[in-house]
């Protein structure tokens, strides 16, 4: 999709790194190389498993950002949508603790999606109908979600059970790779599938073509009879649902409980993954994996105790990498041309 040479190269570098990582992972986990602690920290199954788990909410959050921004709505409120989804999933799960586990969990997912979509609707309404500055609107979403969830959160409530891993037959038996990729809980699979779905949707379907036109040149879309604001509402809600799902993942799959402010900046890192990935789903996946890997590394380094560096510095790792990655790439990536601009029809241009 990109003809920019820099980005083309980046794609190749990312692919090469991924291949190298897989090769190293297989070697470290099957041969004597596994005896070197450093290599185990960097490429062990547990590090890579952690990477995947850490990157799921980032991928979903980044997809949320892509859907909104590709249609022309800036969404810095991903963090808030995620948190709202997490809290909603928790409430739904607690309320249905008496149901069979799977039904209760699926209900939690559905509510997380719905509440995320509602947050998206709120953001779209504020920014389209009331023409609020979209940065401000996004900030409102974050504060609203943080405040409301903290206020309503009952510390005594306990959610019982969470999604467990599902083995994909045959694939799960592949050494190392099967262990990392094919023995995961359902939302993880769903997130990976959604990357493909959003990519195909954006670039190969009518909906995607029209959505991108709304984000790049809304007037052009309007002159061929496309209702720009309808697409913006729709996609902001779809995006919100994905952010809600990211929140659902945290509660229903990763942690099993809710904690105040449990998204801990993941929405913002998602935003960075979206930018780093040049508003492309696979780019975002690569960026989210990188950020997830730094979180895993932080974890593994602390556990293995292989370094004398103060733990505070190690804890900074994911954030430092995020800043470096994004600041190194801003200027090389190209955001949708019309993002953040309200589109008004009649009489707006003569």
């Amino acid at each position: 999709m990109t003809k920019n040479g820099v980005l083309k190269n980046t794609q190749w570098i990312a692919a090469a790194l991924a291949v190298a990582a897989v090769v190293m992972a297989v070697l470290v986990n099957t041969t004597a190389l596994g005896e070197y602690t450093w290599l185990r920290v960097l490429f062990g199954v547990s590090a890579l498993n952690f990477t995947l788990r850490a990157s799921v909410p980032l991928v979903l959050g980044a997809l949320c950002g892509i859907l909104c921004e590709r249609t022309g709505i800036i969404n810095i409120g991903i963090e808030g949508m995620m948190l709202a989804g997490a809290f909603a999933a928790f409430v739904a799960k607690v309320a249905t603790n008496s149901w069979p586990l799977l039904a209760s969990l699926l209900f939690g997912v559905a509510i997380a999606l719905a509440v995320g979509a509602l947050m998206g609707l709120l953001h779209a309404t504020l920014s389209i109908r009331y023409r609020m500055n979209q940065i401000i609107s996004g900030t409102v979403i974050i504060i609203l979600a943080a405040g409301t969830s903290a206020y309503l959160f009952d510390r005594n409530a306990v959610a019982q059970g969470k999604f467990g891993p599902v083995r994909i037959p045959l694939l799960a038996d592949i050494p190392v790779i099967g262990e990392i990729l094919f023995r995961n809980p359902p939302i993880t699979y769903m997130a990976l599938l959604l990357v493909v779905i959003v990519h195909v949707g954006l670039f190969y379907t009518r909906w995607g073509l029209r959505s991108r036109a709304c984000g790049e040149h809304p007037r052009a879309a309007d002159t061929v009879g496309i209702n720009v604001n309808r697409y913006r509402y729709l996609n902001t809600m779809l995006g919100g649902a994905l952010a809600g799902l990211a929140g659902g993942f945290l509660v229903l799959e990763a942690v099993g409980q809710f904690q105040e402010g449990m998204t801990a900046g993941r929405g913002f890192i998602s935003l960075a993954a979206m930018i780093f990935g040049n508003w492309n789903p696979f780019g975002a996946l690569a960026a989210a994996t990188l950020f997830g890997y730094t979180q895993a590394l932080q974890n593994e380094l602390l556990l293995a105790g292989v370094t004398q560096a103060p733990r505070q510095f190690i804890s900074m790792l994911p954030y430092v990498v995020t800043i470096v990655a994004v600041s190194g790439f801003v200027g090389r990536v190209r955001p949708p041309a019309a993002e953040g601009k309200v589109y008004e029809t009649e009489g707006s241009s003569e």
Binding site: L209, A221, V224, A337, E346
Partner: protein, 513 residues
């Protein structure tokens, strides 16, 4: 039976009547020219026909049936297609994606790009509109983008085509190409509404002319009997002087002195090759040439916007070799009407008043130490707006809201109102209405008569011929010849523009294009 009819259309915007009781008939297989100045209501009328605006009163009748249109979809379904003055293309998408947008062909749930591309190729061949369906629009030159727009309407099976100021952005060669396409379309039974304010083009291509002024139809004209001056009078509402009255130049000392200047374009290719040129006080030197032969770079080098590799420039006896724009305007006492007013001449988001002090705001009386004196700026603006006939409701409105002609008059007002020794005007009348053109031409001549040296760069040969005292012709970055106006002929200049030197026998086919 007319294929399209507008009956008693009135359109009111808050505070403005854009169209008043407009009647229009378009017959199958004809080119109807809709002529009018900027702001006469041509575009509003066409936006109504295309379903983008709803008329306050009146109705649109298509093939004898009154129609309600609530958005462009309805117009597209009725076979109406519109090519906008500002192209409605998504730069980062391919031609095929742009063409199918809104009318996609779907196969198994996915976009069928191949089929769309095949259809585009078929249309390109049939109507002589060469486009590559897989090219990115952002990589295409303006002329090709326009072809994409036309293909877009044909792809939707439009048989009523509205072309809004299609020639404003084209070179003479591209205009010829467009007219060929229009004639081909007409011969295949399509009806075309051609919106323009260029008189010569109207007479050349149209079958019927309708003139709009202040939102009303002022009359129809037959291109066989009408002349440029009768049309101009209808359009402006008064007699317009199309020829410029001026006395013989009284050249004084050399003001601008360029010696052997060479410079590169944005892509690092040589754009100016050893250009030497002198302009004296009290004369207008016109620079003629097909666009893209170094004129843009010449002006940029002279105004300090582009650095040059070799050679010397002096203005008013001061060395201005690679000088900064501020030094050129201040010490060189020169002013510049840039070729692209939106990019270099004005700040759209500033008020008219602020735009009028863009090059003087830091001097008294506009500057008070660290702050600016808004009142002085405003008084200054009100004075200039009056003197230069800039039509604006107030000097505090944003410049973006003015019509093109008034924006240009605003730029001219700012530049011409200072006492200057050198005036550099690049395409000073591009894309603006006859009334404003007349006014700006008079101002340029007045500046000459005050003793300024004037360098006029224009792609319009008529403008060069009408204003200049000497004419320099550029070809591939060189000045091929400089001829006094009295010895210049259209044919001779045309040959020079194609690269022939006057001493040499002239080759018949040039590379101009």
């Amino acid at each position: 039976m007319p294929v399209l009819e507008a009956r008693h259309i009135t359109k009111r915007f808050p505070g403005v009547v854009a169209n008043e009781d407009v009647n229009l008939k378009l017959y199958p297989g004809e080119i109807l020219a809709l002529l009018g100045e900027n702001g006469a209501g041509k575009s509003t009328l066409m936006n109504i026909v295309y379903g983008l605006y709803k008329p306050t009163e009146g109705e649109i009748v298509v093939r004898g049936r009154p129609v309600e249109m609530s958005n462009p979809n309805d117009a597209i379904r009725l076979g109406i297609g519109m090519v906008f003055q500002h192209f409605q293309l998504v730069p980062v998408m391919t031609v095929a994606e742009n063409v199918m947008l809104g009318s996609e062909t779907i196969k198994r749930g996915l976009l069928d790009t191949q089929q769309v591309a095949a259809r585009i190729e078929e249309l390109s061949q049939r109507y002589g509109l060469a486009v590559n369906p897989y090219a990115m629009v952002e990589d295409l030159p303006v002329g090709v983008r326009q072809r994409v727009e036309i293909v877009k309407t044909l792809y939707r099976n439009a048989d009523i085509l509205i072309l809004d100021e299609p020639t404003a952005v084209l070179t003479p060669q591209e205009i010829d190409g467009l007219f060929d396409v229009m004639e081909l379309l007409r011969s295949q039974g399509k009806s075309i509404i051609f919106i323009t304010h260029k008189l010569k083009e109207v007479l050349r291509i149209s079958d019927r002319i309708m003139v709009l002024r202040d939102g009303k139809v002022v009359g129809e004209a037959d291109p066989k009997t009408a002349t440029q001056s009768t049309l101009a009078a209808m359009m402006v509402g008064r007699e317009v002087i199309l020829t410029i009255d001026k006395d013989e130049a009284q050249p004084g000392p050399v003001i601008l002195d360029m010696q052997e200047v060479s410079a590169q374009d944005d892509h690092g290719q040589p754009a100016l090759r050893n250009v030497s040129l002198q302009v004296c006080a009290g004369e207008i030197v016109g620079v003629a040439g097909v666009q893209g032969n170094g004129q843009t770079e010449l002006v940029e080098v002279l105004t300090g916007l582009r650095s040059h590799d070799s050679g010397r420039i002096a203005i008013n006896g001061l060395d201005m070799t690679n000088a900064s724009p501020r030094r050129v305007t201040q010490d060189g006492q020169s002013c510049h009407v840039p070729e692209d007013r939106h990019a270099y001449g004005m700040v759209d988001a500033y008020t008219v008043a602020h735009n009028l002090v863009l090059n003087t705001y830091f001097q008294p009386p506009f500057a008070n130490g660290l702050t600016v004196n808004e009142q002085a700026i405003r008084r200054h603006a009100e004075d200039l707006v009056k003197r230069y006939d800039v039509r604006t409701p107030s000097v505090l409105v944003h410049a973006a809201n003015l019509s093109g002609g008034n924006q240009q008059k605003m730029v001219v007002a700012r530049e011409f109102s200072r006492p200057v020794k050198l005036l550099i005007a690049a395409q000073p009348t591009r894309g603006i209405d006859v009334g404003s053109i007349e006014f700006i031409h008079q101002q340029i001549v007045a500046k000459r008569d005050e003793g300024a040296a004037v360098l006029l760069v224009s792609a319009e040969l008529d403008e060069i011929m009408a204003l200049s005292d000497r004419i320099a012709v550029m070809y591939k970055g060189e000045i091929v010849d400089i001829v006094p106006r009295s010895q210049a002929t259209r044919e001779g200049l045309g040959l020079l523009m194609a690269g022939a030197r006057s001493e040499e026998p002239a080759p018949v086919t040039g590379e101009a294009g």
